[in-house]
């Protein structure tokens, strides 16, 4: 996908972010494609939250340039910030306010706050609007954080583990709501989450970070179509202990039966492999949960 920087709501050019004794992001080049739901994936400490903070202008890169809506993030101002929505895993609130007071307070900063949307979400998420933030459960606090981040109908929505404290029903509501925003506003969503079975329902693009480096940046369909698990059976035996094919990411098994994780877009690979090893191969596609550990395997570029 080729996008001019103008149409990408966020662009990072050779961005490094370091904290004392810790390199959070390392020479990152990335464009978030407009109108997509981008899953930001990686293990703890991979740099996901740092990237979201950079996009929101909460922190600035140590070197390199970050642009949000085409503006260097050091110069972000009301026109851009008003089109940006940020939901953090643990939002900071004014604790003595009730939910209703806080919503009114935050609404007052935005010209285009959508009251109808606020009421609909408050009801759908069953928020106790007359209770003080200080006494809310973790789940309800997360719901308030979501409302505060989305009711001005941002064009670019940054979600950092937005559902970690929500129960399954609230998570489903949340995903449906995100899809509604896509349909109504055509917004771009960057969502980090460890809840992969939730994420894979809505993402169409995947960005994968490993130890501060970008290791994957591709459409979700392409990922799903390239990874597979092969069950290999050789009636006459003779399967090797390790397979030399460059697209084999991992394997286990013995002489007559092996299970392989592979990554290839070549539809003829399976037939060639079967012939070469005099074996039967049964392929099964992988879910995001199963792909996740394979994305962390270093040193292979089997494209």
């Amino acid at each position: 996908m080729n996008l001019s920087p103008d149409s990408a709501p966020f662009v990072a050019e050779n961005v490094t972010k370091s904290y004392p004794g810790h390199l959070a992001l390392d020479a990152l080049n990335l464009e978030i494609p407009a109108g997509h739901v981008v899953g930001l994936l990686g293990r703890n400490g991979a740099g996901k939250t740092t990237l979201i903070h950079l996009a929101a202008g909460l922190t600035l890169p140590s070197t390199g340039t970050c642009r949000t809506f085409g503006t260097p993030t050091a110069r972000l101002d009301s026109p851009e910030l008003g089109r940006l929505g940020l939901v953090q895993q643990e939002s900071r609130f004014i604790e003595w306010m009730t939910v209703r007071q806080h919503l009114d307070f935050t609404a007052s900063f935005y010209a285009n706050w959508d009251r109808d949307l606020q009421h609909r979400l408050t009801e759908a998420l069953e928020l106790p609007v007359d209770r003080k933030l200080a006494v809310l459960s973790a789940g309800d606090r997360q719901k308030v954080g979501i409302l505060l981040g989305v009711c001005h109908r941002p064009a670019f929505l940054l979600l950092d583990e937005p559902m970690s404290s929500l129960d399954p029903i609230a998570r489903t509501d949340m995903l449906d709501f995100l899809l509604e925003r896509l349909r109504d506003d055509g917004c771009t969503v960057l969502i980090s989450s460890h809840l992969l079975t939730d994420v894979e329902k809505i993402v169409d693009w995947v960005v994968f970070l490993k130890a501060g480096r970008l290791v994957e940046n591709s459409s979700f369909d392409a990922l799903q179509e390239s990874f597979a698990e092969w069950t290999v059976t050789a009636p006459e035996g003779g399967l090797p202990a390790a397979f030399a094919e460059p697209y084999v990411l991992s394997s286990q098994g013995q002489d007559r039966l092996a299970r392989l994780n592979v990554r290839t877009r070549d539809p003829a690979a399976i037939e060639r492999f079967a012939r070469a090893h005099r074996a039967e191969v049964k392929a099964r596609p992988l879910s995001l949960d199963e792909m996740f550990p394979l994305l962390t395997i270093p040193g292979r570029d089997p494209s």
Binding site: H36, E225, E280, K282, S287
Partner: protein, 128 residues
Amino acid sequence: MPPLLVIDYHNGVPAYRQLMDQIKFQVAAGMLSVGTEMASTRALSAELSLNPMTISKAYSLLEREGVLERRRGQTLVIRAATTADRETNKLNPLRQHLAAAAVMARQLGISRVQALRLFRETLNSPPP
């Protein structure tokens, strides 16, 4: 409006593929007849809780393959297929299943004669 489309999010098959396969199957099996209007991208996205991009991808690929065609502006309808295409569309899903069955037969060392006899018996067996 397709009668019933179900997406399994965790089986690893991209959702657009699942949509395409199910629509093609329903056309081949006569559950979706020629001229039937498809739900709009928007409506189907809401109904299946799917990313609208996924649905427009499936629809445009089906259009390219000649399963759907655009009528009266934006409406997508099931396109009339040639007899040959209809035949292929019917046989393809079965061929895929049989290919998997053939692998299994070889793995288990079942002879051709045995396998064919089994398929014939299965075809003839009354529904349970």
